[in-house]
């Protein structure tokens, strides 16, 4: 992305210099005839062609003096242009309503050469670079430096420039030297970039209204870079050099994410034209930040940059939620193309589930989380992984496997994973979930769990109790009521008869199988008898309570409403 923008900008401002030269040439030719009186000479409705670019000008006023001697002109003129416009044939790059003022010193203007020193300001107008629109009244641009067309205007096909400085108000400046073909096809630029207004740069490049953005850059931050940019006639480009970044803080519109980039030294080697042997090291230092609502400690990531690729040179341990996550084998390739790939390995140790669950807005869940994920691969809109996360929780174990994502980058990115529950204490589980009281031990799992916009859209799940010596299987009246509501029951059988004298009951089995597909939620019991699905099978010793589901299929939104009722 950044390389494409950089290339487009480079081509744009080089073209801008060329149009200024072309405008001047027209003025000079006429000046020899009419001279420049004090009030200046005004030219209206000019038009012309510069390579592939068509340009027009509503009005240009020229003041100053030009000496003509032996066919070579020199002197200084001030110009004031209004309503300037330029565009390529497909309007990929265009400028309109440009208001340009400043001075042009003619160092050498003859049949065989043209060398100028320009100092111009574009104070209003519009720029378009493909889908990037810039309002120049918000981001005024100034341009100064020495430019030349070897071979002379109209004959030469390349623009040479030295000590050129392009400034964007409130954003920063680019300084450079090099040369570029007037048709924009090829060239070379060596220079530096100094950005002292990262939030303004973000505003410039991301033209979405501030209230519709998910992320913002909080501090001013500073970015400096030394860059070399080359492009051949076939469009093969290479951006090389090094960039330093400091003091940038990226924050999301909710408090879950706040990333402080304390300092970064990043070698640049982007584009298909980068030499294959290119390799350089750097580092990214992240200050104390917030991820998933929890604090993470300061961390330094040592990196190595190769041709359009970046990798971690050694594993990095990030303190988080009382434990740590270790990132290793991080590597991203083909960064310059849409086929970019990312691979990494993650390991988590002793992450405090209580801190994590509360940071995510849930109840405190005592336990710890560990993970070994030897490979996460992202590319082509897909995320695939191997390995598993293990949470030792509720006196049992929860395993999460097959973390996956589809249609990443689309309107409907989908994430999913599979879960296994092993020997979970229902007493611990129901205590955390405020679901009444259930004792016993259960196994279960979820297969094919998929989320769209953080809402589940598909899964197959089951849970069943397993007898365990020394562990009673009892269920409270409150829990029966909750299960009854989830299963579609409405009446309260405990309000009358002998049942009202008991607070809890023994059960023989508890469990279910359920499935969500295309918004239809299907709930099956742990036992089926005469078409009745038993969610709770009572113990043989009275008083005996069974919970039976009679409506197997409901819409998932109705099920969510039922769940909301029982969790209130």
């Amino acid at each position: 992305m950044s390389s494409v923008l950089h290339r487009r900008f480079a081509r744009w401002w080089l073209t801008g210099i060329a149009i200024c030269l072309a405008s001047l040439r027209c003025s000079v030719v006429l000046a020899v005839v009419v001279g420049f009186p004090d009030e200046g000479v005004r030219f209206d409705d000019l038009a012309g062609q510069l390579g592939d670019y068509a340009w027009t000008a509503k009005r240009i006023v020229v003041r100053g003096e030009i000496d003509v001697a032996e066919g070579v002109s020199s002197g200084t003129v001030e110009i004031d242009g209004e309503g300037l416009a330029i565009h390529d044939p497909g309007f990929e790059r265009a400028g309109e309503n440009l208001r340009v003022g400043g001075s042009i010193e003619i160092l050498d203007l003859g049949e065989e050469s043209a060398t100028l020193r320009v100092d111009l300001q574009i104070v209003s107008g519009e720029l378009l670079v493909d889908k990037l629109y810039v309002d120049l009244s918000v981001f005024p641009v100034s341009l100064e430096g020495r430019v030349a067309v070897p071979g002379g205007l109209g004959k030469g096909d390349r623009l040479r420039f030295e000590d050129v400085v392009v400034r964007i108000a409130g954003v920063g400046a680019a300084r450079g030297a090099g040369e570029w073909a007037l048709d924009g096809s090829s060239g070379e630029v060596l220079g530096t970039l100094e950005v002292d207004g990262l939030p303004r740069l973000y505003d410039l490049l991301y033209s979405v209204p501030a209230d519709q953005r998910r992320y913002r850059i909080e501090d001013r931050g500073a970015l400096t870079a030394e860059i070399a940019y080359r492009q051949d006639a076939a469009g093969v480009y290479a951006l090389t050099g090094a960039a330093s970044l400091s003091g940038a803080v990226v924050a999301a519109d909710d408090p879950q994410l706040r990333l402080s980039l304390a300092a970064a030294e990043i070698p640049l080697a982007l584009g298909p034209g980068v030499a294959l042997e290119t390799i350089a090291t750097g580092r990214i230092a992240v200050g104390e930040s917030t991820i998933l609502g929890g604090p993470i400690g300061a961390t330094v990531f040592p990196i190595e940059v190769g041709p359009s690729s970046i990798r971690l040179t050694e594993p990095v341990r990030v303190p988080v939620f009382g434990g740590a996550i270790t990132v290793s084998s991080f590597a991203s390739t083909d960064l310059h193309s849409a086929d970019r790939q990312l691979r990494l390995a993650l390991a988590a140790e002793e992450v405090d589930l209580s801190q994590l669950s509360q940071s995510l807005g849930g109840p405190a869940v005592a336990g710890s989380l560990s993970a070994t994920i030897p490979e996460i691969e992202v590319g082509g809109g897909l995320l695939r992984s191997s390995g598993e996360m293990i949470a030792d929780v509720f006196d049992g174990r929860v395993r999460v496997r097959h973390l996956r994502g589809d249609d990443l980058g689309s309107t409907v990115p989908t994430f999913g994973f599979d879960v296994d529950f092993e020997a979970i204490s229902l007493e611990e589980l129901t205590r955390v979930l405020s679901f009444g009281y259930v004792s016993g031990v259960a196994n279960g799992g979820v297969r094919g769990l998929e989320f769209v916009s953080w809402g589940p859209v598909a899964f197959e799940a089951w849970l069943e109790t397993i007898p365990k010596s020394g562990v009673s299987q009892r269920i409270s009246v409150d829990a029966i009521r909750q299960i009854s509501i989830v299963g579609g029951g409405a009446s309260d059988p405990f309000s009358q008869g002998i049942m009202r004298f008991f607070d809890e009951y023994r059960y023989a089995k508890l469990g279910f199988q359920c499935r969500l597909h295309n918004d239809v939620f299907t709930l099956d019991g742990i036992e089926v008898e005469d078409g009745a699905h038993y969610l709770v099978v009572g113990a043989t010793i009275p008083p005996r309570v069974n919970v039976v589901s009679h409506v197997r299929e409901i819409s998932f939104s109705d099920m969510v409403a039922r769940m909301a009722t029982v969790t209130q």
């Binding site: 309007f91 519009e126 309002d135 859209v457 918004d519």
Partner: protein
């Protein structure tokens, strides 16, 4: 009777007695109805029950129609969470894109996608906006076709057929004067 003959006879007998019929059916008529529903919900006036509104037939007469009976056999689901979100995004974008279709800046091509036809007479800010909107719309439409295939148990190989059905529906539902591309690639006006 040698062993080969016995095997051949056995296979023939099995084939004759245990005949297996594999029916391959692509629900094109139902998909056309689903496409009409989606296009109405996103780019139309939001009333997707076009079948009931189009001929004014009384309700009992509709039971006699083969198409209606046929449609009832295979129900095409276009209301999964992903499809709902896509439809919502496309519906919100429709108001932004329709003026460009009316001006002839954007047309509907024969792949069921939008295409910029000309940028003459369009300001630079609008040029950027229409480029972004067309890209986003086309991305959503292609995702929509894949999601419909997935939600209805159709394979990836069926996605181009779904896209083709949608392509015709987008053209059929286009407003008069919008640029549309015919199957042979020629551009004209609806």
């Amino acid at each position: 009777m040698n062993r080969k003959s016995i095997v051949a006879w056995g296979l023939s007998a099995t084939a004759a007695v245990g005949c297996l019929t594999v029916n391959v059916y692509f629900p094109a008529p139902e998909l056309r109805e689903a496409a009409e529903q989606v296009v109405e919900e996103t780019w139309g006036d939001g009333n997707a029950d076009g079948e009931e509104a189009d001929d004014g037939a009384t309700s009992w007469m509709r039971f006699l129609r083969p198409a209606a009976a046929h449609a009832a056999e295979v129900d095409i689901d276009v209301s999964t969470a992903a499809i709902r979100k896509l439809k919502s995004a496309m519906s919100q974008r429709a108001g932004q894109l329709k003026p460009f279709l009316r001006k002839g800046v954007v047309g509907i091509n024969n792949q069921g996608l939008l295409e910029i036809r000309t940028l003459d007479g369009v300001g630079l800010r609008e040029k950027a906006e229409v480029r972004k909107a067309v890209d986003a719309e086309n991305k959503d439409r292609l995702t929509l076709y894949r999601e419909i295939a997935e939600a209805n148990g159709l394979g990836a190989a069926d996605v181009p057929r779904i896209q083709k059905i949608f392509a015709q529906t987008w053209v059929d539902k286009a407003e008069s004067g919008w640029p549309v591309q015919s199957a042979n690639g020629d551009w004209g006006k609806r």
